[in-house]
């Protein structure tokens, strides 16, 4: 068994947790971090239990592309990413500085990911219309 120290992914408290993992990568459970500056060995119900969705059978495991009949079909990353890039390029065609693409980033993503989203939006897709759920 290994114990990996990390930060809880739920609320803004930012509690310290250890994730206990078996050798076959089964997640066995969570332990609180006793000397963590915020949580000091305590956790709430989401902190203790909230990890179990990670191995839920309903997790998305492959890119999906909508077909002309409206259904979704599994696709390779190459295919899906090419479609995303061409879809965005088509939407961008513009001469008058109007934002044509809306970007909604996530408070569940890391800082690094949010920074990339901001950069992708403003420097890549030439849109200043980027937001996340802070208002919701």
């Amino acid at each position: 068994m290994k114990r990996v120290e990390t930060t809880c992914g739920y609320c803004g408290c930012g509690c310290g947790i250890y994730v206990n993992v078996a050798d076959d990568d089964t997640i066995l459970g969570i332990s609180p971090s006793y000397n963590h500056v915020v949580s000091k060995g305590k956790l709430c119900s989401k902190g203790w239990h909230g990890f179990a969705f990670v191995r839920d059978s309903r997790r998305l495991t492959s890119p999906l592309i909508r077909q002309s009949d409206g259904t979704f079909k599994e696709a390779s990353w190459e295919e899906a990413l090419d479609k995303v890039a061409s879809g965005f390029k088509d939407a961008m065609i513009d001469e008058d500085n109007t934002d044509r693409i809306g970007i909604i980033s996530s408070a569940r993503c890391t800082n690094e990911e949010n920074y990339l989203m901001a950069k992708l939006a403003r420097a890549g897709l030439k849109t200043s219309s980027i937001d996340h759920c802070a208002r919701l």
Partner: protein
């Protein structure tokens, strides 16, 4: 957050702290054990009220008159901190003039909080040395959000409760990295590090790192959906968000998602929003990636990879970098620490934060250099702008009001075992067991009048739409007021909420919707 446990008086306004920030609430209890007094402003008798020394059962949407009346009382009874006002602030006289008619009796007529309760809160706040204000969305999700927060700032400044340990006005940030997402510039009116697009130095600074970029004030979530509706916006990229359940006026949201010509949704599950996508990209969860989150204390902390990504899913940063490359950008990051290195240069407040420095303990921004120890308290000695500015915040109500057709006010929120749109927590059986379905809280008296029994399904209808949820009869909510959590897709509270917005920051008034109820 640790400051909370040393406070002598804590004013909690619009924050269900024990349910929404459980570990922050442990600090409140520590403070109470040391003799602190607790005062709560909320339309529901939340758990904290059981331990409170004062409780103000406020009418949803009317914090501002109550806060202005507290300021009025403090000035009238000469409980102000003259030295602080003189040395550290400006515009006091104008603010003072603006609240001269805001008597507690006037505030009572709007907020329904007894005038004597308002006086009690004001006196206690002004005469306690270490008095702290905690607030969350019960203040912000209203049409008077900005004015209310500015009024709280006035309240803190007239009493000098700023810039010292265990004082200040402290918004508890809701989601794990909502602070960080804002810090990183995932906002239409800021670039990373809260640099305004209209500042000339912003364009110069980011051009060096990003090359040519869009340096304008963009549209927020609400405006984006409206621009899609108008046919102006042609594509949307939604990462780790589920607007069908989380955004106001669900019918409008669904219509816009249906209409947008090209929609990419990136998430860990096939959400209600993914139904509308053209391409769905599978993301890895927080246990399957590296990176940093910034908590409500501005503390930047590491997350570590525990297991490999499930199936063919990828961490969001890898997916975003792949898209960047495909549209011709340079995005050769080996890992999140490379991105953090670039961020050090882009955002001064994160200038000295590296993964190596925070492996053991997080650092609080502003952290300007690699030697900087971080900043636990803001505004010590001086406000960021120099002098603290008193503002005038006159109360003018806009938005939903009770009427003959819609005699109840609905307020929405969350429950402790669930998270946002329930995408994760409803799939954890131990948590789902606690709240298998949505509900509507209704006061005992209203339920009796309408002949509603506990758990009986009732229909709630607003001008926007209609839902059915089982009644939860309680004395812990104001009369003629309902509460519905928005986690549950079968009884989506946001089908009822509307687009009444704060005029300055466009936050929707999710806490105030006029509704009627019918027994099913």
């Amino acid at each position: 957050m640790n400051d909370l446990s040393d406070a002598e008086m804590i004013l909690v306004i619009g924050s269900n702290t024990t349910e929404q920030h459980p570990l922050a609430s442990t600090r409140i209890f520590e403070a109470l054990d040391k003799g602190a007094e607790l005062y709560v402003v909320d339309p529901r008798k939340i758990r904290l009220t059981d331990f409170a020394h004062g409780y103000a059962p406020i009418e949803p949407g009317t914090n501002l008159p109550m806060i202005n009346a507290m300021i009025h009382v403090i000035i009238e009874e000469d409980l102000i901190n003259e030295e602080f006002i003189k040395n550290r602030t400006e515009n006091y006289e104008e603010m003072k003039e603006s609240v001269k008619d805001c008597t507690p009796e006037w505030a009572q007529s709007i907020s329904k909080v007894p005038a004597d309760t308002i006086r009690q809160f004001a006196r206690k706040y002004a005469t306690t040395d270490k008095a702290m204000i905690i607030f969350t969305m019960g203040v912000t999700q209203q049409t008077t959000a900005v004015k209310s927060i500015r009024a709280l700032a006035n309240l803190a400044m007239i009493t000098g409760h700023v810039g010292r340990p265990s004082t200040g006005i402290n918004p508890l940030r809701g989601q794990n990295n909502v602070q960080g997402a804002g810090d990183m510039g995932a906002l239409p009116d800021f670039l990373p590090g809260y640099q305004r697009p209209e500042w000339p130095e912003t364009k110069e600074h980011f051009s060096k790192i990003w090359g040519d970029f869009s340096c304008l004030r963009g549209n927020n979530i609400i405006q984006m959906f409206n621009l899609i509706d108008e046919g102006i916006m042609k594509a949307a990229y939604i990462v780790g968000e589920n607007p069908v359940l989380s955004d106001p006026d669900q019918t409008h949201t669904m219509h816009c998602l249906e209409k947008v010509p090209f929609l990419v949704v990136q998430d860990i599950f096939f959400t209600e929003t993914a139904e509308y996508a053209d391409v769905v990209l599978p993301a890895a969860s927080f246990l399957e990636r590296e990176g940093t989150y910034t908590n409500t204390d501005r503390r930047v902390q590491m997350i570590h990879k525990v297991i490999e990504p499930i199936g063919d899913s990828k961490p969001d940063w890898e997916i975003i970098a792949e898209i960047m490359k495909r549209i011709g950008m340079d995005a050769n990051y080996e890992g999140p620490s490379d991105i953090m290195d670039e961020l050090n240069e882009a955002a001064e407040i994160y200038g000295g934060i590296t993964h190596d420095r925070i492996r053991e303990v997080g650092l609080q921004w502003p952290c300007l250099t690699k030697e900087h120890p971080g900043t636990p308290i803001l505004h010590v000695g001086e406000f960021k702008r120099g002098k603290g500015l008193f503002t005038v915040n006159d109360f003018e109500y806009i938005g939903d009001q009770r009427s003959e057709e819609y005699p109840f006010i609905l307020t929405t929120g969350r429950v402790t075992h669930m998270y946002h749109t329930g995408t994760m927590t409803r799939k954890v059986w131990t948590l789902a067991l606690e709240y298998p379905e949505g509900f509507v809280e209704i006061h005992t008296k209203d339920a009796e009048e309408l002949g509603i029994k506990d758990h009986q399904p009732i229909r709630i209808t607003s001008a926007r739409g209609s839902i059915v949820a089982p009644a939860l009869i309680t004395n812990r909510i104001n009369e003629k007021t309902l509460f519905v959590p928005f986690h549950f897709a079968e009884s989506p509270a946001n089908r009822l909420t509307g687009q009444n917005l704060d005029p300055i920051i466009n936050i929707p008034a999710l806490k105030v919707s006029a509704v009627r109820i019918e027994v099913e």
